[in-house]
């Protein structure tokens, strides 16, 4: 599994209706991502879920057409109750969500255990939660470029 900033993964932003989803129990991380999403002028809405359970419940609503399937998912790992790995494993178990691009958000890059696990459960790439938040700008730019 590779760093998406160095090796962008194919993401289809489509007509801008499919949401970019962030699953993270930390509100502050979302606020930072939201800031750079806004700056990127990407029209796909940014959605935030505070837990894996809440995100999976949202995914169920996409089956009825109530909500659009995510264009890409940013997944935190360390969350209470259901962690990021378990959430992605559950997501991948469903045929309909096999191809949803998932980017794991790591706390530090030097944790091979987290990276290997992310690979095993079926994530497409990873991003290291940056100290320099401008890196999120780079991430959104790469999404525009890949799309």
């Amino acid at each position: 599994m590779k760093n998406v900033l160095e090796n962008p993964i194919p993401v289809d932003l489509g007509d801008g209706t499919n949401p970019i989803v962030m699953v993270d129990d930390e509100e502050l991380d979302f606020l930072i991502v939201k800031r750079y999403h806004k700056l990127s002028n990407i029209s796909n809405p940014l959605l935030h879920f505070l837990s894996g359970e809440a995100f999976l419940a949202f995914l169920e609503t996409t089956k009825t057409g109530e909500a659009a399937i995510p264009a890409v998912v940013l997944m935190d790992i360390n969350m209470p109750r259901m962690n990021g790995h378990e959430t992605v494993r559950t997501l991948r178990a469903d045929e309909q969500f096999r191809k949803v691009p998932v980017v794991m958000m790591l706390t530090s890059s030097d944790d091979p255990v987290d990276r290997n696990k992310a690979d095993q459960v079926g994530a497409n790439g990873y991003i290291v939660k940056p100290f320099k938040p401008q890196l999120y700008q780079q991430f959104f730019e790469s999404l525009k470029a890949a799309s």
Binding site: I32, R81, S108, K132, P133
Partner: protein, 317 residues
């Protein structure tokens, strides 16, 4: 003597001389040999027996030694296993500490980068929010480090053991909690408690403060929040088991072990550092005691703990 008559006689002629060879058995010699035979056999038997005994003894001795070695090996293996467990716990602890300590620093640094980059475009409100987050995260960091140090100290150091009236300790902690306006509606029930228990008073106060504090928080979901504190024992001079009960939502059984681990948080909205129960557990274990929980989701929780080795004179209440 007829016995001495020649048994074999032969005439041999050689070199023109006639030779007669006579072979005569000497029975006296033979007889004396026969008399010694049983003794010799007896001696050999004893020697063989002794040797057999020696071998048997050595074999048994070896077995005993082997058993002792195997016992020692089992003990050593258990020691290695427990060390491995401790090591893996330490690894987990370090990983969790690094993760939880890094988050506040990341927010502080991130916001500083935003401030530097966008200072001119930011309005007053945004500036305030960014700085406010930095202050809050700095404080969070400080609390985390304080709790971490407290956790490390909880399981070591000398205990100031003296007879403690546990009722006084519980009542004091309840009084402090009642002073919070948000807990004005909470009913506190203090039952039987040991009047004299040998323990470290400060540590006991910390344990009670944490457990009763949690119980009060959890019980707030109820229309009539209620917290009960008491202790009981099976035998007259047996060890006391304390219990703290709340009428909150309860805790699912799969989390019963997890909540006592450092940095454990079942709810990300929870303000705590996730160190509280880990500190309490370490303090109780330092006293030779233990803590456990009886609860199921959507029902009340009861935390139990013991402080053994404590001498009890009488109970109050």
């Amino acid at each position: 003597m007829a016995n001495n008559a020649a048994w074999v006689s032969n005439d041999v002629q050689t070199l023109n001389i006639n030779w007669r060879i006579q072979i005569t058995p000497n029975f006296e010699v033979l007889e004396s040999r026969i008399t010694w035979l049983p003794f010799a056999m007896f001696g050999i038997a004893i020697a063989v027996g002794t040797l057999a005994c020696l071998f048997a003894y050595r074999a048994t001795d070896k077995n005993i030694q082997l058993e002792a070695h195997s016992d020692e090996l089992t003990t050593r293996l258990a020691e290695v296993e427990s060390l491995q467990q401790e090591n893996s716990m330490l690894d987990q602890f370090a990983a969790m500490a690094a993760h939880d300590l890094q988050a506040p620093i990341r927010y502080i640094v991130s916001n500083a980068y935003i401030l530097i980059d966008e200072l001119k475009e930011l309005d007053q409100q945004e500036l305030c929010n960014l700085a406010q987050t930095q202050v809050e995260q700095g404080e969070r960091m400080r609390t985390l480090i304080r709790d971490l140090l407290e956790f490390c100290r909880a399981g070591q150091g000398e205990l100031a053991i003296s007879p403690v009236n546990t009722r006084t300790v519980v009542e004091e902690e309840v009084r402090l909690l009642k002073a919070h306006s948000e807990y004005a509606d909470t009913e506190f029930v203090v039952g039987t408690l040991p009047a004299s228990l040998n323990c470290d008073r400060e540590k006991l106060a910390h344990i009670i403060r944490n457990l009763v504090g949690n119980a009060v928080k959890f019980s707030q979901v109820s229309n009539k929040p209620k917290v009960s504190i008491g202790a009981s024992r099976d035998e007259l001079h047996g060890p006391w088991t304390f219990r703290i009960n709340d009428n909150g939502h309860g805790i699912a059984p799969e989390h019963h072990e997890q909540i006592f681990k450092p940095f454990a948080r079942l709810d990300s909205a929870a303000k705590g550092t996730g160190m509280g129960l880990a500190i309490v557990k370490a303090m109780l274990e330092h006293h030779g005691g233990s803590i456990w929980l009886d609860s199921s989701e959507k029902q009340s929780s009861t935390f139990y703990f013991t402080l053994p080795g404590a001498m009890i004179e009488k109970a109050t209440g």
